[in-house]
Symmetry: C2
């Protein structure tokens, strides 16, 4: 069967909800204009969102001589979602409300070399603590989105890689966290999540690429508002494209992978090979912290540190040109905690190289930007994926009745 | 405005027509099942296709105890489309019928260093000759699709590159060929056209990548049945991704571009630098012919030729791993006349490297194949784009009445 079938079940509710969120208040007519949906489809979608308790009428507006239009607005407190972005050496968690606003956030340790059986209960404890700190009723939480590295089996909620330890390969990550928290759990690629987070946190932009750098380097593409997923959501592995065809063999099977040359672990490793630099900066912690020290020193004028960061920026720029030349986007957004302190250095280097090198630069320019809330964008995106999955679910009506944001709640609110 | 609006105008007619073509005969119920469309949408689409004269009822079939189902089939002779794929040194033209079958084809000279004002009338003459040889009534021809290199402005029907001469940059290619032939003309990226041609000529596969090699190297991605287009249809420039970050500056602005190392012109150029090889193979013609001689000699066991082709296959393999690691496809199809004689050499080399190196190989395998009708796939795709544009046109009804495949014709046929 053609996959055309799935295209016809477009995520109408998610799109309508996004536009209401972006515009704060909006009439049905404006919604129909903004989406290109028919009045009937729009009316149906709005009715469903009101029944879910997600949207309510918030007043009227008169435009010109016409009859006043009833305005719709979100009920931000209707539900909450949890997002956790983690890689080997770091993890951040957020709780966001229906409007995408962060109501709680915390940094947590990454797995390092620990087994998943030890890490998952720790994540669960952090989730409980975040919900408590935000005073969010657990019954109002739709679920948890785990944004992390690949390859993944999103449907099964498992990682398909023996990183950081062999036990992680095929470990029932989603199921175990669900058992520990009582909340539905989905997994998502971290860079794609960052893209969804950028859509949520920033102004609407229908098409852009994300370059994501945390423990490793990844990328995401949002095209016409939807994440590009390919066959199995395991594409966009920017960290594992070759920037040196004759380079060293990477664990992934490829040679001269970007991540092994430009990634935080590679730069931290090279810094440790320089005893003077290493001593000067007090290196020897986890690689992401060491990388941050090198980056700080580079910004402060340390020549040896700057040379290492230059390798990273220039090589990442080459790979970003590849990304743009293949996906044809006019905007590249940098996200991830490795960009948090000196993202501007990367932004400027990438912009400079892209301005000179991208294939379609005479057709359109390509703008490089830093994400808002650069360290949390992926976690926010992970949280939003939980909501999107619910809105795209075919048995949404059924769940609506069970959910606290559903009709009972909506009635209470009237 | 969100581009969501355009998503809601899915090319229903094109999808329905494709399925009727693939299955030869099909009932409305089977069509609804195959597309996931509602019975109402399907009935509407079929009615429109019958009104256009593209589809007719061809009999009934009884399945089980139910009432007999009326079967639908194409009217292949309802209309014809012309496709021309050209690059600097070669051009091929085809005329295809509504079923996608080639009813005429011919090779023609590429532009070489000639001006567009000289080449376009030549193309027009070839079109006339093909239509005559196939005895196709000009009034039954929907238009011409030009499949060629980029960057392009598809809407304006112009190339945005000064190749092969400065006069080609912004030259009104589509308009001029329309004036010369009286037929509507569209332009399309050659590799994307090859993808559409592969869909048309082969069995249906909803997602795959194309690596296209003719005068240069390009790529295309068909995902869920639709070409990936990015912001301006100027992505997927595989020939201009860097496979050597410190390599030579390419005319495009990037360094170490695949095309300058692995492409036919690069290989032909390197062969000419070897006087013995050059003399042995009688090189010195146009680069594409020289490349073909080198490839033939490699297959025949010439060590110097084989070494050059090895550079091409191995470097193309590195770039193809990048393509797959970014787009996550399970199938890569090779198309274009540069693969015509020794595509198997490339297929085997790419399969070998991909099996070892692609990031998601433990999630799914990636199969490398040669396109059916490898030299004409892009021209066929160019032709099919003309039909798809018509079927996606909002004023299709209006055109239907004017077009020979329209209601008048359908009446005559009854």
């Amino acid at each position: 069967m053609r996959s055309f079938g799935s295209d016809t079940r477009l995520p109408t509710l998610a799109v309508v909800l996004d536009i209401i969120r972006e515009r704060t208040t909006v009439s049905r007519v404006e919604l129909a204009e903004a989406t290109g949906l028919t009045q009937a489809t729009m009316t149906h979608a709005v009715r469903k969102l009101i029944a879910l308790g997600f949207v309510q009428e918030v007043g009227t507006a008169r435009s010109g001589r016409g009859t006043p239009r009833r305005l719709l607005g979100l009920r931000p407190e209707a539900c909450y979602m949890v997002g956790i972005q983690f890689d080997r050496f770091s993890a951040v968690g957020v709780v966001v409300d229906l409007a995408g606003r962060i109501v709680a956030q915390r940094e947590m340790p990454g797995p390092a070399d620990r087994e998943p059986g030890e890490v998952v209960p720790e994540f669960a404890a952090h989730v409980e603590a975040m919900l408590e700190s935000a005073a969010v009723d657990r019954s109002a939480v739709l679920g948890i989105g785990l944004a992390t590295y690949g390859p993944q089996d999103r449907d099964a909620g498992v990682l398909l890689t023996p990183q950081p330890t062999p036990a992680w390969l095929g470990y029932p990550l989603a199921t175990t966290l669900t058992e520990a928290t009582g909340l539905p759990v989905v997994i998502e690629n971290d860079a794609t999540a960052a893209g969804i987070g950028v859509q949520t946190l920033g102004t609407a932009s229908s098409s852009f690429a994300v370059v994501f750098m945390s423990g490793g380097i990844g990328s995401g593409v949002i095209i016409d508002g939807h994440p590009y997923r390919g066959a199995t959501s395991n594409g966009l592995e920017l960290g594992h494209i070759s920037v040196d065809a004759l380079g060293e063999r990477c664990g992934c099977g490829n040679r001269g992978c970007l991540d092994t040359i430009a990634g935080p672990m590679a730069i931290a490793g090279r810094a440790l090979e320089d005893p003077a630099l290493s001593a000067r900066l007090g290196l020897g912690g986890d690689p992401l912290s060491d990388f941050t020290r090198v980056g700080r020193a580079a910004v402060a004028g340390d020549a040896a540190a700057a040379a290492l960061i230059e390798v990273s920026t220039q090589t990442l720029a080459v790979a970003t040109v590849t990304l743009v030349n293949l996906f044809d986007v006019a905007r590249v957004v940098l996200a991830g905690n490795a960009f948090a302190e000196f993202g501007t250095t990367y932004r400027e280097a990438l912009q400079d190289v892209l301005d000179r090198s991208v294939f379609m630069r005479h057709v359109h320019s390509v703008r490089v930007e830093l994400a808002d809330n650069i360290s949390h964008a992926a976690a926010v995106g992970g949280a939003v994926v939980v909501l999107r999955n619910l809105l795209e679910s075919p048995n949404l009506g059924e769940r609506a009745a069970l959910r606290p944001g559903g009709e009972d709640r909506a009635r209470q609110a009237r």
